[in-house]
């Protein structure tokens, strides 16, 4: 008998006395030591399914029909006490976002020790086990890490600590809910590989919840595709990837840049033999030193950037790629004039901007605009879409009320939003729609250059594809130049003409995307390319 046996499961959320279904008639099983992946976009019911299995539906969530038997125990309609017996000891959970998944006021060791104690272990052996689990989760120097607080650890380490928490209950099944989508590609790969190895070694079943078919295909024995609360397709990942039955699955595959070309990274633009247009933005030998008051970085000054030279050709896209902490965001902030360089020069459209005062810089800001990474945090929650989009016009005193409204409608049209959205608030919009609003806001002043800071990494694959296409269309229509920051080489291959690969504050490789990605010279570039999921020849699985 399988460990998880779900039959005809209906789950819904109660709102205003009506039940809105989130999962409909789901059949799903997870065998012992089996790795199953549920794939779907947000709202497909994949996380609801996971929560139902571990008995952690939100207060308004209800199982309205069907059964979900976990390790021989019916969880549908079960009492809190029964569910508590399952949590931790039968089913462990690795939550989505490691940055907020740990209690900030408790030491990491104590948070793992809590789970160990629930198994009835007491005394000094608790600590021994804590260190052991941290070690198993691949945390270097576990003795030290156990004594630290979550904010002292990097995102990758926090995710490993969360894996240690899941392991500490010695569960039979681990549910990993988008376990690494908040992490860098290289970190993501290392952690997923490690987790895959662990569950295989210890005979634990693994249920991966992801929006990324490529991540699922790399690791699962079986893939379940969900859409609108229903299962649309199920089977061996190799079969699903090479011969998808459902149109939805086909769309998912087409949307994942790395799967679309049969697992190879293919640059969309090949500018190897073309002459480069004049640059709109040039950073020459830019260095940046932060004063050394951060205990994590030691007492000395911290060199964030060293001799970075980057240029963005007019009407094209230049990408900055690298792991987090490599200096790509600092470069972007210096290019925008938000941060001043310690040395070096920054020229925007022929004007030197480093060292300019805020007032002198302000008119130049019309030429370069920014789109942020997180569409949920970048819009003022109290501003309507119209207010957000016209704010730059207001602050630069462009036009009057009437012409601003006309411009706002025009902008919404440009980013593919219905004009009726003018009076909506951000909370009424999806992530993709919010990012469109952010792009519309950036376009308001008709800039020549837009800086995009990981504009799609917070979005589902399907939405990601739409936003990337929008950016490409806008670039063509308006002759825009982009400086595109990303950690995801597959995305970069889709949008960029040229690329700079950064590592530890330096540019380690630079050139046309088609050249750099096919003939990587730097080991850092190679590592980034290797980390792209779904890249391996089909049929070969990561163990």
């Amino acid at each position: 008998m399988s460990l998880v046996d779900i039959k005809g499961l209906d789950v819904g959320y109660v709102r205003h006395r009506t039940v809105r279904p989130a999962v409909i008639g789901l059949d799903l099983s997870v065998g012992e030591a089996e790795v199953v992946a549920i794939v779907g976009e947000s709202g497909s019911g994949k996380t609801t399914t996971a929560n139902a299995i571990i008995g952690l539906l939100p207060p308004n969530g209800r199982i309205t029909a069907g059964s979900a038997i976990v390790d021989g125990i019916e969880t549908a309609g079960a009492k809190e006490k029964t569910l508590r017996g399952l949590r931790g000891s039968v089913v462990g959970l690795i939550p989505q976002d490691p940055m907020v998944g740990l209690n900030p006021t408790q030491r990491v060791g104590a948070q793992i020790g809590e789970v160990v104690k629930l198994r009835g272990i007491a005394g000094p052996s608790v600590h021994t086990e804590v260190v052991e689990f941290l070690d198993q989760a691949g945390v270097p120097d576990p003795e030290l890490r156990a004594r630290q607080y979550p904010h002292e650890l990097s995102g990758g380490l926090r995710q490993r600590a969360l894996i240690a928490i899941a392991l500490a209950g010695r569960p039979k099944l681990i549910i990993a809910d988008e376990p690494t989508s908040a992490l860098d590609v290289t970190v993501q790969k290392r952690i997923l590989d490690h987790l895959g190895g662990l569950v295989r070694e210890q005979g634990i079943s693994l249920l991966i919840i992801t929006h990324d078919l490529a991540v699922a295909a790399d690791r699962a024995d079986r893939v379940v595709v969900m859409q609108h609360g229903r299962k649309t397709e199920e089977g061996d990942p190799r079969v699903i990837l090479s011969d998808p039955r459902e149109p939805y699955t086909r769309r998912l595959i087409a949307a994942a840049p790395r799967l679309a070309h049969g697992g190879r990274v293919v640059a969309r633009f090949d500018v190897r033999d073309e002459e480069r247009p004049e640059p709109i933005l040039t950073l020459t030998k830019v260095s940046k030193t932060f004063p050394g008051n951060d205990p994590r970085r030691g007492r000395r000054g911290f060199n964030a950037l060293e001799d970075v030279t980057v240029s963005v050709p007019r009407g094209q896209t230049h990408a900055l790629v690298g792991e987090s902490g490599c200096g790509k965001t600092t470069t972007l902030r210096i290019a925008l004039g938000l941060e001043s360089a310690t040395s070096g020069s920054v020229r925007l459209d022929g004007t030197e901007i480093s060292g300019l005062s805020w007032n002198k810089l302000r008119p130049l800001r019309r030429k370069a605009q920014l789109v942020h990474q997180d569409p949920f945090a970048t819009l003022d929650p109290k501003f309507t879409v119209g207010q957000s989009v016209t704010e730059p016009l207001v602050s630069f005193r462009v036009g009057d009320r009437r012409t601003r409204k006309v411009r706002a409608l025009e902008l919404l049209d440009q980013v593919g939003l219905p004009t009726s959205y003018l009076d909506r608030l951000p909370q009424e919009l999806s992530g993709g729609q919010r990012q469109r609003v952010a792009i519309a806001r950036a376009l308001a002043l008709q800039p020549e250059l837009i800086m995009l800071d990981e504009p799609v990494s917070a979005l589902d694959v399907l939405v990601q594809e739409q936003i990337l296409r929008l950016l490409a269309d806008l670039q063509q229509a308006l002759n825009l130049s982009y400086l595109f920051v990303s950690h995801d080489l597959a995305v970069v291959a889709e949008v960029a003409h040229t690329v700079s690969v950064m590592s530890q504050g330096r540019v380690v490789e630079q050139g046309p995307v088609a050249e750099v990605f096919t003939n990587p010279r730097s080991p850092h570039t190679r590592e980034l390319i290797d980390a792209i999921p779904g890249r391996l020849p089909l049929g070969e699985k990561v163990v």
Binding site: G88, N103, Q106, E114, R158
Partner: protein, 330 residues
């Protein structure tokens, strides 16, 4: 860290000085003549005094000096704990306050402790019970408690517990039983304010992903609530601790008057009515000191409760802004 502490203490002293100076300015710029007040208190007509006598009296209280000289004189005195002489009682202010501060301190301290315990307990229950009726009741209670005027609560308690049941004395400051109703009166307001802030903070905290992590471990609801939610929810509420203690101090004015208790609160009320400037100044300074002291203590222990706050280079540093959706390198 030492720089942080020194900075905080310096700040506290500046606030105290500002409070003293502001009160001094307001009181001395009032359109009233301290001389006349004194004479009225002594039952003497100003006209019956010779100009020499008036001048002598003015000199005795330093009223013939310029306002600046008076200010420096009073400030210097206050620094040494000498608040001058009461205009109406002709006794040193410090002595007057010294006699009455004991009961007020006991009252305020007990009220603050009761408010802290009751407010936390109410907030804890309001967010912990699962029976929705009780939950709603508990979470609405603070709003009710905060909206009753204190004199009304006091009069209600007197009517019910003294006159009808005869459990506690309605007036006086003798013994512990006289303390019960004044403490309740003050802590109804103070605990309601605290509970309101705490409940909101709890609701916010319970929505955090780390609470899901804790529940997924298989911990009991009470363990999740106590070990993971409470401390994190209490952190934002810490900042209003100064306000809570402040409320207990200022409430003593109303409460001591209604319950006719001996204390600084009633002294303040009488001093304001008779415009006894040195006494009012002293009471305000003491109340401000309590407020400043509590806030100073909160500032100093906050970093011990929230490990994310560290003090480097004399500045409070929030944790490095976590890259929202990026992981760090390993």
């Amino acid at each position: 860290m030492t720089r942080y502490v020194a900075g905080r203490i310096a700040q506290a002293l500046v606030v105290l000085w500002a409070a003293y100076t502001l009160t001094f300015a307001i009181l001395y710029l009032l359109p009233s003549d301290p001389m006349q007040l004194q004479l009225a208190a002594a039952g003497v007509q100003e006209d019956s005094l010779t100009p020499d006598q008036v001048a002598a009296m003015k000199a005795e209280f330093g009223l013939d000096q310029s306002i600046w000289t008076q200010y420096w004189h009073h400030l210097g005195g206050a620094l040494h704990g000498d608040f001058g002489i009461s205009l109406t009682q002709r006794v040193p202010v410090t002595e007057m306050i010294g006699e009455r501060i004991g009961p007020t301190l006991v009252l305020s301290a007990s009220a603050a402790i009761v408010a802290l315990v009751a407010g936390s307990a109410l907030a804890y229950l309001a967010t912990f019970v699962r029976w929705s009726l009780l939950r709603i009741l508990f979470s609405r209670l603070p709003a009710v408690g905060a909206s009753f005027p204190q004199f009304f609560v006091a009069l209600f308690l007197i009517q019910f517990f003294s006159f009808q049941l005869g459990w506690f004395p309605a007036t006086g400051s003798e013994g512990a039983s006289s303390l019960v109703m004044p403490v309740i009166t003050i802590s109804v307001l103070a605990s309601s304010v605290l509970a309101q802030v705490l409940i909101k903070s709890f609701d916010e905290t319970l929505r955090q992903p780390y609470i899901t992590t804790a529940r997924a471990k298989g911990l009991s609801r009470s363990a999740v609530h106590l070990r993971h939610a409470f401390r994190n929810a209490a952190l934002p509420a810490m900042t209003i601790l100064g306000v809570i203690v402040g409320v207990t101090v200022t409430s003593s004015i109303v409460v001591e008057t209604v319950f006719t208790r001996e204390g600084v609160g009633r002294l303040a009320q009488e001093a304001v009515l008779s415009q006894d400037v040195p006494v009012v100044l002293a009471v305000v300074t003491i109340a401000a000191s309590v407020f400043v002291l509590v806030n100073l203590i909160v500032d100093l222990i906050y970093p011990l409760l929230d490990p994310r706050i560290s003090h480097t280079r004399g500045k409070v540093r929030a944790p490095a802004p976590a890259p929202a959706l990026e992981g760090g390198t390993l």
